[in-house]
């Protein structure tokens, strides 16, 4: 089964294709969702800090996160190196969640 | 504009718009109009301009009759309906032309 996700980087690392596909798929499913989660949480906190009513802030940030979600999932397949993909999606998601927690304690 | 005329008018305008666009595509022009040459650039321009005008008119009809939100929604969906109808027509006529 030929997978198009790899861009044929034969950089001397013998990573089995199954593992590469698994890395891409988990990044697309869980990494992207985690990133969207972080976006929604941080966006909601930002909105509340900016003076939006909480229900408004939650709705706005969730809608934005929803638009980003499928794009992020597809990006997990488009990015040439999946480690970069995991760093951005997974790492970014964690960062955003941490930022939202911080904003939550700082805010009113 | 009377109720009964609005819908046929809307779909008719969308249909003509996409028919003009279809004919401006070289493959369909060759299949349906003139198999020897590609459509001349002026013709392509005129066809696409006509399509744009028909689509604008269709939007105006929809919004005048149903208000902004329903009109916009109806127009957006009528576009797809018109395009599908034109695709069906192109297939049917191309099959017939091929014999």
């Amino acid at each position: 089964m030929k997978t198009a996700g790899q861009s044929g980087r034969g950089e001397g690392r013998a990573v089995p294709p199954r593992l590469r596909i698994a890395a891409r798929v988990t990044a697309a499913v869980f990494g992207a969702y985690g990133f969207a989660w972080g976006l929604a949480a941080f966006g909601a906190e930002l909105g509340a800090l900016a003076g939006m009513a909480p229900a408004e802030a939650v709705t706005a940030s969730s809608l934005l996160a929803l638009v980003v979600l499928p794009v992020a999932s597809l990006w997990a397949f488009a990015v040439p190196r999946i480690t970069v993909g995991w760093a951005v999606l997974g790492g970014g998601g964690v960062l955003l969640i941490a930022a939202s927690q911080f904003a939550g304690t700082v805010g009113p | 504009m009377p109720d009964a005329l609005m819908l046929p008018g809307l779909f008719g305008l969308c249909y003509f718009a996409f028919a003009a666009l279809a004919l401006s595509v070289e493959r369909h022009w060759r299949d349906l109009v003139d198999s020897r040459r590609a459509p001349p650039r002026r013709t392509v321009f005129r066809l696409r301009l006509a399509a744009l005008l028909c689509l604008a008119a269709a939007l105006s009809v929809a919004v005048r009759h149903d208000g902004t939100s329903f009109g916009l929604l109806l127009w957006a969906l009528a576009l797809s309906a018109g395009a599908l109808a034109v695709a069906a027509t192109v297939t049917w006529r191309t099959r017939a032309a091929r014999g």
Partner: protein, 523 residues
């Protein structure tokens, strides 16, 4: 010829998008087919209800608007059957559902029923119909525990969005091939053409319907914002966002004030419009609350503009419009729900929903035809499994739907839990069709056999409606019963189309692998 074209989408990107597009389609195609098909049926759920519940075919609302005090309250009392009522609500009659639907919660449990607009209770309808079977199947797969159904449907929907976006990226000549459908020649090429056609030409609808569907339940499937600002309390979020109001029982008994004046006041506050649903919370209590929702017939937004009244004094307790972002969310949700009274739009939703099924189906068929070459004349288990699932989730699902509607006409009225028997039959027959597909798939799934079954069942439904209710299409026209006429017409069309397809398939020779390998799909 393409020498000077600037590359908007690089071949590498195109290649990278191919794998997720293909595998999301192959693994989730069956589920998405179900969601799109049941969603299309849900557009006309009320009409399907009229067909499946003949007692509710009372024609236009003849006796005028239902009086809450004179028609609804007595019906509530009858449903309560002497037990103390805690809360109740009534969905008032409208054009599409000319009877009222009541739900009463007593200390002993729930009691529901339908009544004509003058308060006459109808006998139990004995079916879940379109509104309580096909529609919930669409958005939750009837899996309610922990909202697991919502999660699964939304996961598939996000995958659908990814499929739509990746599909556009993959499509090599989106404008040149805009109107191209080569229905002659190689079957595989025709499939791809049709897949591209239904995908590209109806793309605005597919994008809109998929994203708005997820938007409706967004706080449930992406609760990060609610977690952040409401500590995870989704109810408090909804109360805040939708301007709801509630208060606990006081324990002191008090009579309910007349409801009809409250409706008039609500109309005044709305600046016009009809009431759609009336709720009474803490019935018979001093802290009772009456909530009146506005009908959504004349607008896109799902905002029901709830007005809350004190149940004892009739004073307005709360009426507050939502903020701009929540109002936008209501409009987006309304775009999906299509609760508005605009028949051309509803038919377009129905047809485009079915075009989504064609999109998904042609995708699965294309994969099957393409892989057939790789797998040789006798495909292996993998291909046969995908093929069987494709068959079971298309013609099999149609068979189950039609069999349930036929059972609705055939099952005797008195059997206990009749609605559950109907639903059980749906799932049983669906499983049977899937098993049939699995067993009979050798080089091809049994399309012709299942299409024949679809044709026979659809025709049988029309005939059974005639026999069991006496309402044949001509009589439906005479009594202006457009709902039943519409359902019968679609059934008849389905029977005709399925029969034609079945005959064509039975005559088609088997796939010729020697030529299949040579076809270039994008020529």
């Amino acid at each position: 010829m393409t020498a000077k074209k600037r590359k908007l989408i690089s071949p590498a990107l195109r290649a990278a998008m191919l794998w997720p597009h293909t595998w999301a389609g192959v693994t989730l195609g069956g589920l998405l087919m179900l969601i799109f098909f049941m969603g299309s049926l849900a557009v006309f759920a009320s009409e399907i209800d009229r067909w499946m519940m003949p007692a509710t075919r009372v024609g236009a609302v003849e006796t005028g608007p239902a009086s809450l005090d004179h028609a609804v309250l007595p019906a509530v009392e009858k449903l309560a059957a002497g037990r103390a009522v805690r809360d109740w609500y009534v969905q008032l009659p409208d054009e599409r559902r000319p009877v009222m639907a009541l739900q009463v919660r007593t200390e002993a449990g729930n009691a529901g029923g339908m009544a004509t607009s003058d308060g006459q209770l109808l006998p139990p309808v004995g079916t879940l119909g379109g509104t309580y079977f096909f529609y919930p199947l669409h958005y939750s797969l009837h899996l309610r525990a922990g909202f697991i159904g919502y999660w699964i449907v939304c996961f598939a929907s996000v995958a659908m969005l990814a499929g739509l976006i990746s599909g556009v990226v993959i499509h090599a000549r989106i404008f040149k091939d805009f109107f191209t459908f080569r229905s002659w020649g190689q079957f595989r090429r025709s499939l791809l053409d049709l897949h591209n056609l239904t995908g590209v030409l109806v793309l605005p609808f597919h994008l809109m319907i998929t994203i708005t569907g997820i938007v409706i339940v967004l706080p449930i499937v992406l609760p990060a914002g609610v977690q952040a600002l409401y500590g995870g309390d989704v109810r408090r979020f909804y109360d805040d966002a939708l301007r709801n109001y509630s208060r606990p029982r006081s324990g002191v008994a008090a009579p309910l004030a007349p409801l009809d004046p409250m409706v008039a006041e609500a109309r005044r506050l709305w600046g016009g419009g009809e009431p759609a649903v009336v709720f009474v919370y803490n019935a018979g209590d001093a802290a009772s609350v009456v909530r009146i929702n506005r009908a959504l017939r004349d607008r896109i937004s799902l905002d029901v503009q709830p007005v809350y009244f004190d149940g004892v004094t009739g004073q307005v307790l709360k009426y507050q419009r939502p903020g701009p972002v929540v109002a936008t969310h209501r409009v987006l949700s309304g775009l999906h729900f299509a609760a508005f009274d605009h028949w051309p739009l509803r038919w377009l939703y129905f047809l485009f929903g079915l075009s989504g099924c064609v999109l998904i189906g042609t995708g699965m068929l294309y994969w099957m035809e393409k892989r057939r070459v790789a797998h040789g004349v006798k495909p292996g288990v993998g291909w046969r499994s995908v093929a069987a699932i494709a068959c079971g989730s298309t013609s099999g699902m149609l068979i189950a739907t039609l069999a349930m509607m036929a059972a609705n006409r055939l099952l005797p009225a008195g059997i206990p839990s009749r609605e559950l028997v109907e639903a059980g039959l749906f799932f049983l027959i669906w499983i049977g069709s899937a098993v049939h597909a699995a067993i009979r798939t050798r080089t091809d799934p049994p399309w012709s056999e299942q299409c024949t079954a679809v044709a026979l069942l659809a025709a049988a439904c029309v005939v059974l409606n005639w026999i069991t209710t006496g309402e044949h299409p001509i009589r439906a026209v005479a009594s202006a019963d457009w709902a039943v006429l519409g359902v019968d017409a679609v059934l008849a069309l389905t029977a005709f189309a399925a029969w034609r397809v079945s005959r064509r398939l039975a005559q088609r020779p088997g796939p010729d692998l020697s030529t299949l390998a040579k076809v270039t799909d994008h020529a």
